[in-house]
Structure formats: C-alpha cells, structure tokens
C-alpha cells in the first residue's frame, strides 16, 4: 500500500515537472526590449524606419511565441531564447546603423549649411555689383525678396539643426540652397551682360 502511494506521488511530481520545466525567459525579453528602446532612442525610426520596423516585428513574433509556449502543457523556451538573443544583436546593429545614418545626415546638413552661407555671402556682394540702373527695378526687388526669404529659411534650418532635427533641417536647406544658387547664377549673368 505504501509503495502504491509513493508511486502515485512520483507520477504526479513527474507530470508537474514536465509541465513546468520551461520557464519564461524574462531576463532575455527585458534585454531585447531594452535593446529596442535603445534603438528607438537612437532615432532608428526616423533615420532607418524599415530596419527598425523589422526589429519590432521580430520582437512581436517572439512575444507571440512566448505566449504560445505558455499555453502548452509542455513548454519549450529554448528556441525563443535563441531568437531573443538574435533580436538583441539585431537591435544593437540597428541602433548603430541609425547613429551612422544620423551622422551622415548631420554632415550633409552641416556641409549644405556652410555652402549656403558662402553662396548667400557671395550673393550679398554680387547684388552690390549688379547694374546701377537695376536698383529699384522690379527684378532686383524680387531678388532681394528671395534673398530675405532664403536668409529666414537658413535661420529656421539652423534652429532645427541645433535641436538635432537633422532630417527636417536637410529638406529646408536643400530647397534654400537651390534657390540661392539660382540667384547666384542670375546675378552673375546680369553683371556679365552689363559688362559686355
């Protein structure tokens, strides 16, 4: 009788052991979430949105997998752990890529800002050399208005750049640079025409 009781207890313990042998890899989940958060802080969603979305999707797959395992009688979290490790690596890579891309955009914005300031300075000198008779004329008035608008846009773009919004700054500077270059050409042509 004693043997039968012991045997029954052993069986129940074995079933309980089998049913609960897999433990949710909470530490790995937390690590993956932290890595994704770090990628987000590195503005991966702004600079490399597709890569960031891919990491988030991988994490969602894993979280669904975790719940699927938790719903089973015999849980198995080994593959999930491996996937979580891969997500941490991927998220770290995405954060690094975002930082690289951000630096690229920053450099491009910085170069364009310096270039445009040079063009604006040159335009300021060119307008003084523009034909005397041109002063007060409609064309020069429009050029002056365009130059003032470009100046304001550069100030706005510089503000965005200083705030770290390099992507927003870049679009503004590009547009302003194109306009400033256009004015530069127009003024040079007008001066050359008068000299002829």
């Amino acid at each position: 009788m004693k043997n039968k009781v012991l045997f029954g207890l052993a069986t129940i313990m074995m079933v309980a052991f089998l049913a609960s042998c897999g433990k949710v890899p909470q530490a790995e989940i937390d690590a993956a979430n932290a890595a994704i958060e770090a990628a987000k802080t590195a503005e991966a969603a702004v600079y490399i949105p597709a890569e960031f979305a891919a990491v988030q999707d991988s994490m969602n797959v894993i979280l669904a997998d975790v719940e699927a395992q938790k719903s089973k009688l015999f849980k198995k979290f080994g593959p999930v752990k491996e996937k979580l490790t891969a997500v941490v690596t991927l998220a770290n890579q995405v954060a690094a890529n975002a930082a690289v891309k951000k630096e690229e955009v920053k450099k491009e914005s910085e170069t364009l800002l310096n270039d445009i300031k040079t063009v604006i300075e040159e335009n300021g000198k060119l307008i003084l050399k523009a034909p005397r008779g041109k002063e007060g004329a409609a064309v020069i008035e429009q050029i002056k208005a365009d130059m003032a608008t470009i100046d304001a846009t550069v100030v706005e773009a510089q503000g965005l750049f200083d705030k770290g919004s390099f992507m927003d700054a870049l679009n503004k500077i590009k547009a302003a640079k194109e306009k400033a270059d256009g004015i530069n050409t127009e003024l040079k042509e007008a001066i050359a025409k008068v000299r002829r």
Partner: protein, 371 residues
C-alpha cells in the same frame, strides 16, 4: 515468490505508464488551444501595413488594428496565468480577427490614400509651377509691392521644399508644404493680376493710338514706330505693315505714364522724332529725340498741379529719346527707350525728323497677355 513480486511491479509500472500516457493525451485533447495562427496572421498583416506606412496614411484604422492586437496579447497573457483547464481563448481570437481585419483595411486604404495623395500633390506641384512660370513671365519686370514679392518668394521656396519632400516619398510633409505654397502663390498671383488689370484700364486709349499710327503709316506710305512697354518691343511699320520688331529697355519705373521730371517713367502718348543725334552727339551711341512733353502731356501736368496731385514745385520731364547702348536685359534708363546698337542702326536709318513714335502700355489686351 520474489520473482512473482518483481513481475507484478513491472506490470504495475507498465500499466501506470499507459494510464499516464492516456491521461496526458486526454489532457492535451481537452486543454483549450490558443488561436496561434490567427494571432500570427494579424501580426503579419499589421507588419505589412506598417511597411506600407499605414501608420501615417491610414492612421485611425492602423491604430485600431494595433490596439486590437495589443488587447489580444494582453488577454492571452492573462489567460495563460490561469489553471490550464480553466483557460478561455475566445476573446484572444476575437481580438486577433478584429486586428487582422482592421490591419487589412488599413493596408488597403493606406495604399489608396498614398496613390491619391501622390496624385493630388503632383497636380498641385504642376499647377503651382505653372503659376510661378506665369508670375515670372508676367511680373519679373513689373513693379509689385514688397509685401507681394515676399509672399511670392516664400511661396516659391515652400514649393521647392514640397518637391524635395515629394521626391523622398514624404508625402504628408510634401502635402503640408504644398498647401502653404498654394495659398501664398495663388493669392499673390490674384493680387498681381488685379494690379495688372488696373494698369490695363488704359488699353482702349492705347488701342486707338496704335490704330491711328498704323493707319497713318499706311495712308502716308511712311515709317512709324510703336513702342509696346509691357512686351518691351519696338515695332517698325511701313505702309501699314510691320517690318521689324526690336527688344527695348525702359525707365526703371516704366508702369504708368510719365508725370514729373525724375520719376524714371517712360511716357505714353503719340509723339514724333524732332531731332536725330549721330554717335558724335550722344553718349548713347545714336539717338532720336522725341517731342515729349507734347501739348497733351503739358495739359495733364498743369491739371495735376492744379488739383494738388503733384506739388507746385514739380517740374515736367523732357529729353525722352530712343537711343542705343541697350541689351543689358534690365530697365535702366531715366525714361528713354534703349535698343542694342545694331537695332538702333536700323531704326536710325529709317527714322527722320517727324517720324511718328507712339508709346503704349501694351498693344495686346490683358486677356491675350494672360494667355
């Protein structure tokens, strides 16, 4: 006896194992199953929708889909915490299905919205580029107020920003910029056209002068000169037929009639050449002096002094010429009409003292100009 007991134990173990296996199979069979495939499907559609920027272009539907998916996961987690035989995944399935359906709708509408937004922006960019081309063509040399010029500048820069955002497929930003640009440019264009309409009010008078000049050329079988200030052309007529058309440059404030000395305006009226100056007698290569101010100009000047629209100290202008040294591409004279030296040679050779010179704001009416 001992052997018998051993056999009995082995038999017991086998039976227990069998019972346990059957028990486990039964448990597995009766255990509630989570809707793994449905959740997976919802997630994959959500992922596709996200890649298609549904979060931006079908925001509400995408947010709903995300929210339903989150609910499914939360309920799933909560159910998993219960004793396994008491779990119920119906709600999980319901939310997963709802999420998938919303995500599908978000994906579809995002694609539609992007297509239509893209088309709308493209059309607006085209329209505004046309307006800018019109503004450049009609008003580059036309004096507009500083405020209007600033608005045009801002509009043009916003249009450029919109084009850049559009080329980067940032359609929402492009749309925002194009709406602002549209407001500035269309309003500025309307104001500028209103301004031009004001200037063209004198068109019936100009038309009469032009007809008279051409008819005189025909009936006298002689040369006549007509200067069209708006199109900046100097037309030479002989026997009523146009023989030449030359580009001209005018006074800096060419819009409107000349009123007073130093206003840098080119006068409008019917004049004639009163003196020819060869290259030794003018600093402008060659010149034809006109009889400005004529009697009509003098009468108008006196009227303006009398009604106070001009100060009593004002002096009437003079020495208006058609001369050379032109081709600068700008309006630079004090009110004269400048041609290139080679064009001036032609005009100088055909014009004599008494040759009629009619100066009008425009030979075309405003509708033709706007076309």
């Amino acid at each position: 006896m001992r052997l018998k007991r051993v056999w009995r134990n082995i038999f017991g173990i086998i039976i227990s194992a069998l019972v346990l296996t059957v028990l486990l199979l039964l448990l597995r069979y009766f255990m509630p199953r989570p809707p793994v495939e449905k959740v997976d499907y919802a997630r994959s559609i959500l992922s596709q929708a996200s890649s298609s920027s549904a979060g931006i272009y079908s925001r509400r539907l995408f947010k709903d889909a995300e929210s339903f998916y989150d609910s499914a996961m939360i309920i799933w987690r909560r159910e998993n915490e219960k004793f396994f035989l008491l779990r119920d995944f119906d709600e999980v399935e319901r939310y997963a299905v709802l999420s998938a359906s919303k995500a599908e709708e978000a994906l579809r509408t995002a694609k539609e919205n992007v297509t239509s937004l893209k088309m709308r922006i493209e059309q607006r960019i085209d329209t505004l580029n046309n307006i800018v081309a019109h503004l450049n063509k009609l008003f580059t040399n036309y004096p507009l107020s500083a405020n209007l010029r600033n608005r045009i500048s801002k509009g043009k820069l916003l249009l450029k920003e919109s084009e850049i955002a559009f080329s980067k497929e940032q359609y929402l930003q492009a749309n925002k910029k194009i709406i602002d640009a549209e407001y500035l440019l269309t309003e500025s264009y309307k104001s500028a056209v209103t301004n031009l309409e004001e200037y063209f009010r004198s068109y019936p008078v100009w038309k009469g002068w032009v007809e008279k000049t051409i008819n005189a050329s025909k009936s006298n079988n002689s040369y006549s000169i007509i200067v069209d200030k708006y199109s900046r052309k100097c037309h030479i007529y002989h026997n009523g037929i146009r023989r030449h058309a030359f580009d001209v440059e005018l006074g800096q404030n060419w819009v409107g009639d000349k009123r007073v000395r130093g206003d840098k305006a080119t006068p409008e009226g019917m004049y004639k050449v009163i003196k020819k100056f060869g290259s030794k007698h003018t600093k402008y290569y060659k010149a034809l002096l006109l009889d400005y101010p004529n009697e009509t100009d003098k009468a108008e000047f006196r009227r303006e002094i009398a009604n106070g629209s001009l100060p009593p100290t004002a002096r009437i202008g003079g020495l208006i010429e058609i001369h050379g040294n032109g081709g600068k591409g700008i309006d630079w004279t004090e009110g004269c009409i400048a041609l290139t030296d080679s064009d001036m040679d032609v005009v100088f050779s055909i014009a004599g003292e008494g040759t009629p010179v009619t100066i009008v704001g425009s030979m075309l009416d405003l509708n033709e100009v706007l076309k």
